[in-house]
């Protein structure tokens, strides 16, 4: 139903007939399947809009856009940064036809938009399969599909304060490798006052998906495929061990206190000695806490037996730009050409974007760039990263579940068994409701 030519009178007439309102709501916004077609350099001027969040990062895309303009003077790339409420804007704008040409993606919303055909597939001529697998080897192309380019990989890192290790009589060059060594080391570094309240915790945790990492280290998987069906595999001995790890940290070894500040502040203010966290934390300490940053060491996370495990923890691919629907054809084509330029030619640009977040670069040639291999932190990431594994799409409801389970254990003081059972049943509910998508 064409809505482009609604004039005021018709509009009011329809408003009065409220019953038609529903039909109107359903019909607004054209949804057309746009098939990517390779076009030669653009003859008329066109503007490609790119939306994202976090101005510092989006500035890097703007710089890439400016570089692109040198090659294609008729194409102007305009990058806009909005904040986290950004997704409300995107989800309102795209169906209405007022969205951007390209959009920075985030996993949870990417899958939703893809299932509603809001993103345009990568041009198979510009990005053939062989190219993608060769140049972006760590990316799970099968799980994510060919609708968005990867930006970089988020790994799980173990950070420790070398100075505090020394003070506790430990060797700062030999961080703990096994869970047992880890418990002992953190106990030595924890300080408490007369009441037993911690004044410095041995360990801080990144409250994002704590259980997965440890579960994976034990070889567990939180999801199973049974034929065509997805089955929750939460209540397993491996997950039990993971939860018990945290309970022990707090209650048995007393090295961790939930009341402590968020891990970036805790480590930065010397309120915590060690931490297991996602890589981006490194960027925060480097820029905001330079004196403490100088004291920090980074290593692979401790595993149960100290063996180098491919699953040091959960690793996920951070997504880059995708092309969206509902824009004029010439704009979309220009946008796809820019995408092609950025991801095939602009290696420096890609490196800048992934580095600002502490990510391991996605492009194979960047993996061997001296800026990466020469930096101990990034080199560590590269070492950890092969096998990037988001077993499931971490949707909003699923991450909320993680917070709930943590609270059950430590606020409600429920038992591990009870929490496991609850986690299992909730996960089953979410799978049925379609809130969890498996990548494998």
């Amino acid at each position: 139903m064409a809505t482009q030519n609604v004039n005021r009178r018709d509009f009011l007439k329809v408003a009065a007939l409220a019953g038609i309102g529903v039909g109107l709501a359903a019909c607004k916004g054209k949804v057309t399947e746009e098939v990517a077609v390779e076009v030669p350099p653009t003859p008329e001027p066109v503007t490609v809009t790119v939306w994202g969040w976090w101005q510092d990062r989006m500035n890097l895309f703007q710089q890439a856009g400016d570089r692109y303009k040198q090659k294609q003077p008729n194409v102007t790339v305009t990058v806009s940064s909005f904040d986290q409420d950004f997704w409300q804007k995107v989800l309102a704008a795209v169906p209405a036809g007022t969205g951007p040409t390209l959009c920075k993606m985030i996993t949870a919303n990417y899958f939703k938009m893809r299932s509603e055909n809001m993103v345009i597939e990568l041009d198979p001529v510009a990005f053939p399969d062989s190219f993608l697998k060769e140049k972006f080897p760590n990316h799970n192309w099968q799980g994510y599909g060919r609708f968005v380019m990867p930006e970089g990989e988020q790994t799980v890192i173990f950070t420790y304060n070398k100075k505090m290790m020394e003070e506790a009589g430990l060797d700062p060059n030999k961080p703990p490798k096994t869970w047992d060594e880890f418990f002992q080391a953190t106990q030595k570094m924890t300080k408490a006052d007369a009441n037993g309240t911690l004044t410095m915790e041995g360990f801080a945790y990144d409250d994002w998906l704590p259980f997965h990492n440890l579960c994976f280290q034990k070889g567990g998987q939180i999801i199973k495929h049974e034929g065509d069906n997805l089955v929750a595999n939460f209540n397993t001995p491996e997950m039990e061990a993971a939860m018990q790890f945290f309970v022990d940290l707090a209650q048995k070894y007393k090295v961790w206190d939930k009341a402590f500040p968020y891990f970036t502040d805790a480590i930065g203010n010397r309120q915590a000695a060690t931490c297991i966290h996602e890589a981006w934390g490194h960027g925060v300490w480097k820029s905001d806490f330079p004196e403490v940053y100088a004291e920090l060491g980074f290593d692979v996370p401790p595993t149960p037996t100290g063996e180098a495990s491919p699953y040091y923890g959960r690793k996920n691919m951070v997504l880059g730009l995708a092309t969206l629907i509902n824009r004029p054809e010439n704009e979309t084509s220009a946008g796809q050409n820019f995408q092609e330029y950025f991801y095939k030619e602009d290696l420096e640009g890609q490196l800048a974007v992934s580095s600002i977040s502490g990510l391991v670069p996605a492009h194979a040639e960047n993996l061997v760039n001296s800026k990466v291999t020469g930096d101990p932190f990034f080199a560590l990431g590269v070492k950890i990263s092969p096998k990037c594994y988001d077993i499931v799409e971490i949707s909003g409801p699923f991450s909320d579940l993680q917070y709930t389970l943590m609270d059950m254990l430590f606020v409600d003081k429920k038992s591990v068994k009870e929490t496991l059972a609850f986690g299992q049943s909730e996960m089953e509910k979410q799978i049925t409701a379609g809130d969890i998508t498996a990548m494998y």
Partner: protein, 279 residues
């Protein structure tokens, strides 16, 4: 300065008043003060623990950073012009509506009033998306019309104006009518001046809300040239929001005009209303 309470005796009571009110005002202002001071601190100092109250080193780097990220003058102008226009229209229309509901009687008056009042109850998010699609269909996407028109009337202000209209004695209006004054004259020349305290208060609040309005301008405006201040500033809240200095500098920049407007309008508040007309 005559007002409802004219204490002439008992200075003691005043002192007690001052103390209590002063304490309360101090708690009100403390966080705000901290916000301002933080905006002048350097990054390392903000995040250090224990946190300092006064900056050890004063710096304006946050403000420079904020200003350089925004086209400050343009954005101030955008936000100012939209806020002023919206506020004026909203207050005027609400005063008119409040007057009619408060002073006139007509069939269905109560139902219509509840009809209007009911629109206050739903959270904005609920009708935001259909409203947005309407704006797009009317070709107002990315324009200031979409910011102003859907907000022209305000149930809240109408409600408040109506309540105040009740306190204006009908005798005054009837006297004017008997002298031959028309309704428009009565409204503009008699009623509105009597409502100055309320109007000044409402203007202060509505200007503040319109200035700080975030979600709707975020959805509607995409063009950088037309951007509004709160939206532009919120781009600062980085993924992990640790640049407190920048955030606070932005917040101060956003708040200052509102404070100025408040100060100006409080001067116009008539201190105490004496209906000398009826003596």
């Amino acid at each position: 300065m005559s007002n409802a309470f004219a204490f002439r005796t008992l200075k003691k009571l005043h002192l007690l008043n001052y103390i209590i009110v002063g304490l309360v005002a101090a708690t009100m202002v403390l966080p705000f003060l901290w916000m301002v001071l933080t905006s002048f601190k350097m990054r390392g100092e903000i995040l250090s623990f224990p946190p300092s109250f006064f900056p050890k080193v004063w710096t304006i780097e946050n403000y420079i950073d904020a200003a350089s990220r925004l086209n400050v003058l343009r954005i101030y102008w955008n936000t100012l012009s939209v806020a002023v226009t919206k506020t004026f229209i909203q207050i005027y229309l609400s005063a008119l509506l409040g007057f009619v509901f408060g002073k006139y009687d007509f069939k269905y008056k109560e139902i219509i009033f509840y009809f209007i009042l009911a629109t206050m109850i739903l959270p904005f998010e609920v009708y935001m998306i259909p409203l947005y699609r309407m704006m797009v269909a009317a070709k107002w996407g990315d324009s200031y019309l979409a910011l102003i028109v859907p907000m022209m009337f305000s149930a809240y202000a109408t409600f408040l104006m109506r309540q105040f209209m009740f306190t204006i004695p009908n005798d005054l209006l009837d006297a004017a009518r008997m002298d031959g004054a028309g309704e428009w004259f009565i409204f503009h020349r008699l009623v509105v001046p009597l409502c100055k305290p309320v109007l000044a208060t409402l203007v202060s609040f509505y200007f503040m809300w319109n200035w700080n309005d975030f979600l709707w301008p975020l959805i509607v405006i995409s063009n950088k040239e037309k951007m509004m201040l709160p939206v532009a500033l919120s781009g600062f809240v980085a993924e992990h929001g640790t640049d407190y200095g920048l955030i606070m500098a932005g917040a101060v920049m956003a708040t200052l005009p509102v404070v100025v407007v408040f100060v100006i309008f409080q001067r116009y508040v008539v201190q105490g209303i004496s209906l000398t007309g009826l003596k």
